[in-house]
């Protein structure tokens, strides 16, 4: 059916969820590299403040300022690094690419519920990317108010010159619109388009994660949209919603309102980014342990509980704003409640391995790495949830290390696991396992050295977003560690090229993949590559849960597709 389609329809304005997923993947990888490069520049400045950027970090880009990164440039770099990594790298790769690619295939649907909306969602994101990239060519550069862009700093009155912040706000509003279109589509697809027999508790946990993420997106992206619209009006039309004090000539609003609105969205956003990874990890652990996911229902319910809790804990980002004691205590209590469902499903992960038969294929390695980094990331969240500890650690490198563990490290490994796992279905070939293994160990070690030591820096008092840490006497003894982190980060960056090379090379030269190389049960492995537009010749009837591995009733093999009745499988 796809032969008659023009190249234009097939590759560019495609309505096929699989092609849109790939488009998102490439967009995400581009921005991942771009954001990663900016991270290295930030690291360079922190280790060697005001020293010329070397040629291998493209030092010629900084000719205008004598080869060094100036303070304005530095602020722009970390602002854009955060924005790009969260909204243009993680979101497109995990939610855009895998949400699109995996959801319809795993629930046995022909496509998303609204394919045109799906296409529009990608192209809105593309437009947002253009606006964002355009801000790099403005005479005064990009936004420089941090990824949170607290007013009044992010307003005209805040003293950052130029229109970068306006472009940033516009780009983010567009990206939010795109995310919302996608989210509406995913939510409905899961509710309405499941194959016959695919009940909610027969969906793979990866679908659960992506679905819950989309629910959060549909609810909370409009909240940040409201905040951004108000910020934009403050910038462009002279309203004073977020302006107060001397800068607000007559009247004025309240900058704290922005912080509330931002974090009402911002805290669920953290879970929006991590939920797909939780789902994918739960699913992959089961596949590569050849054992059903331990406590499948409990894991799904825990994820739902966290989704609910995540929307009422935003205040823990604002302990130092002069919050009333009652609010501070309530937010701390609610935040700490999250550790109950989190630890329950974390134990479920561990117990899935227990008595399994662990196959250390590359997706499994990345998945195990997620367990490691998420344990660290989750546990260190306890410091930030505690009001007193957070009074000290707030706005230090500790927070930076913590959220890189939860968001960057977990999501990165989750993304690598997902790419290596679904690569055979997406591109019809296998990735080179040796290169993946080298990449895995290099990344795992250097990433831990980078992010763990960031927390050490923060514990020693090093606050964040400072251009030249050596200004402070109490940070001077930490400069050696800063240099060390930078070296580790460069190694981390270098290892990513192995993956990039493997990713590209295997697309053309990798061994042709079998239909079901991992011997998985889920529905996407029942169709041949290339999966046609429309996915299934006949919509499958689902009989089993997603994790019927090592079922004793099945003879001769330790897996059984969801669409095969167990009695007849032997």
């Amino acid at each position: 059916m796809s032969e008659h389609q023009s190249v234009w329809r097939k590759y560019i304005f495609s309505l096929d969820h699989k092609m849109i997923g790939k488009q998102y993947l490439f967009l995400g990888i581009f921005f991942l590299l771009f954001g990663g490069f900016q991270a290295l520049l930030i690291r360079w400045q922190l280790a060697y403040p005001e020293q010329p950027v070397p040629w291998w970090l493209l030092g010629f880009l900084f000719k205008g300022s004598g080869g060094i990164i100036d303070p304005d440039m530095y602020n722009q770099l970390f602002t854009m690094h955060g924005t790009i990594m969260i909204f243009w790298a993680i979101t497109p790769i995990l939610i855009g690419a895998f949400g699109n690619y995996v959801i319809p295939l795993q629930i046995g649907a022909r496509d998303m519920a609204f394919p045109t909306l799906n296409m529009l969602s990608f192209w809105t994101m593309f437009l947002a990317s253009i606006v964002l990239l355009a801000s790099y060519f403005l005479p005064d550069g990009t936004a420089a108010g941090g990824w949170t862009s607290y007013p009044p700093l992010s307003l005209e009155e805040g003293g950052i010159p130029g229109h970068g912040q306006t472009y940033w706000t516009l780009a983010l509003t567009l990206a939010g619109t795109s995310t919302m279109m996608g989210a509406i589509n995913y939510v409905i697809t899961v509710i309405r388009m499941r194959a016959p027999g695919m009940t909610y508790f027969k969906m793979p946990l990866s679908v659960w994660g992506l679905w819950l993420t989309s629910i959060l997106n549909a609810i909370f992206v409009p909240v940040i949209a409201a905040g951004l619209i108000m910020l934009l009006l403050d910038r462009l039309l002279g309203t004073q919603f977020f302006l107060a004090g001397r800068l607000a000539a007559g009247g004025g609003g309240d900058p704290l309102l922005y912080q509330h609105v931002f974090w009402i969205f911002g805290h669920p956003e953290v879970y929006i980014l991590i939920l797909p990874v939780w789902g994918i990890v739960s699913e992959l652990l089961s596949v590569f342990s050849r054992k059903p996911a331990f406590g499948y229902k409990v894991t799904a319910i825990c994820m739902c509980t966290i989704v609910v809790l995540s929307s009422i804990v935003w205040g823990h980002h604002m302990y130092t704003t002069g919050m009333s004691p009652l609010l501070g205590k309530s937010f701390m209590f609610l935040t700490l409640l999250i550790s109950i469902p989190s630890s329950i499903f974390f134990f479920n992960w561990l117990l899935t391995l227990w008595k399994g038969s662990l196959h250390f294929k590359t997706p499994m390695l990345y998945t195990m790495a997620v367990i490691w980094v998420f344990a660290i990331g989750g546990l260190t969240g306890l410091y930030n949830a505690t009001v007193t500890a957070d009074i000290y650690l707030h706005d230090t490198m500790f927070v930076v290390g913590h959220f890189h563990y939860t968001m960057a490290a977990s999501v990165l490994f989750g993304g690598y696991a997902a790419i290596s796992y679904w690569y055979p279905k997406m591109f019809g070939r296998m990735m080179n396992p040796l290169m993946n293994r080298i990449h895995f160990w290099g990344t795992f070690i250097s990433l831990n050295l980078v992010f763990f030591n960031m927390m050490v820096l923060g514990y020693a008092g090093h606050h964040r977003r400072i251009y030249n840490p050596a200004e402070y006497d109490f940070i001077k003894p930490l400069m050696g560690l800063n240099e060390f982190i930078t070296y580790a980060a460069i190694v981390l960056g270098a290892f990513q090229f192995i993956y990039l090379f493997n990713f590209t090379w295997s697309m053309f030269k990798g061994p042709i993949a079998e239909k079901n190389p991992w011997k998985s049960n889920t529905l996407e492995w029942t169709v041949d590559y290339p999966v046609p537009h429309g996915n299934f010749a006949e919509i499958p009837q689902v009989y089993n849960g997603p994790n019927e591995y090592s079922n004793p009733k099945v003879k001769g093999q330790d897996w059984v597709p969801q669409s095969v009745q167990i009695e007849s499988a032997g």
Partner: protein
């Protein structure tokens, strides 16, 4: 608790800045307790992972058990483990934290011997103001020392009220383990008490523009005698201009006449 660090260095290799405050130890304690328990739990996770990798690796253990873990005993087991984590970490640190907030950080000192200071950070400097002889702020005899230097006496509770001249800043004292945001349009407060004399650093912890990194001040902790000698040597703020200097948009030099009537703690 304070001895914890002697026999267990925790997961941290590096010490925080020297604690010279009355209550900083409370924060160090809660952090050290958290260090201790999460190291323990992370150790258990790693040990379990290592054991599973060794024991259930497919070469050694080719046949996986068929176990859904959906029986009641499994649910009870995981919930109990979850509750153990919650009770041993969360409840303990919550109790410690609430106690410390009640006893120290949110328990603002009152009385005659409390030193009151008003602070108004601006892009990129710290302005401080002492009440002067009439013990009222916003009057002509307020003492405004040079920017970026905050003098305080040792062993005296100090309450600082903050607002800001322009954008959001955050008053951060690493040696006291505390910070407090200064937000336009509102007055926030923080208190601390130094236990040692010396010169320490004040940093701005909230991004405030391209000079954020050099928005540094010094905290001079002096003996009480030295402090009051110093204070009496300071000239009161000049009185020629009228009080309304806030409307001026041109940010030229040091803002003057910015004090506000002291806000009593709610």
């Amino acid at each position: 608790m304070t001895n914890l660090k002697k026999w267990l260095p925790g997961i941290w290799f590096m010490d925080p800045p020297k604690d010279i405050s009355l209550d900083g130890y409370r924060i160090d304690n809660v952090i050290q307790y958290t260090d201790f328990v999460i190291t323990l739990y992370f150790g258990i996770v790693v040990a379990a992972l290592a054991f599973f990798v060794w024991k259930y690796n497919s070469r050694k253990h080719p046949k996986a058990a068929y176990e859904h873990g959906d029986k009641k005993k499994h649910l009870i087991m995981t919930v109990v483990m979850g509750m153990v984590v919650f009770l041993s970490i969360d409840v303990v640190i919550e109790t410690m934290s609430f106690r410390d907030l009640k006893e120290a950080f949110w328990n603002f000192p009152k009385g005659k011997d409390v030193l009151r200071i008003e602070a108004m950070p601006m892009q990129y400097a710290w302005n401080f103001r002492y009440a002067g002889e009439d013990e009222e702020f916003g009057t002509d005899d307020d003492v405004v020392p040079p920017q970026n230097i905050l003098n305080i006496p040792v062993n005296t509770p100090v309450v600082v009220q903050l607002t800001t001249y322009d954008v959001i800043h955050s008053f951060y004292l690493p040696n006291f383990r505390i910070k407090q945001d200064a937000t336009p349009g509102m007055v926030t407060a923080i208190w601390f008490q130094a236990t040692e004399t010396g010169e320490y650093e004040i940093a701005c912890a909230e991004l405030c523009g391209n000079g954020h990194f050099k928005m540094k001040g010094y905290l001079k902790v002096q003996s009480k005698e030295d402090f009051y000698t110093w204070l009496s040597e300071q000239e009161p703020e000049v009185t020629e201009d009228d009080w309304d200097d806030w409307g001026d948009d041109e940010d030229e030099g040091v803002p003057t006449k910015w004090g506000w009537p002291w806000k009593e703690v709610k």
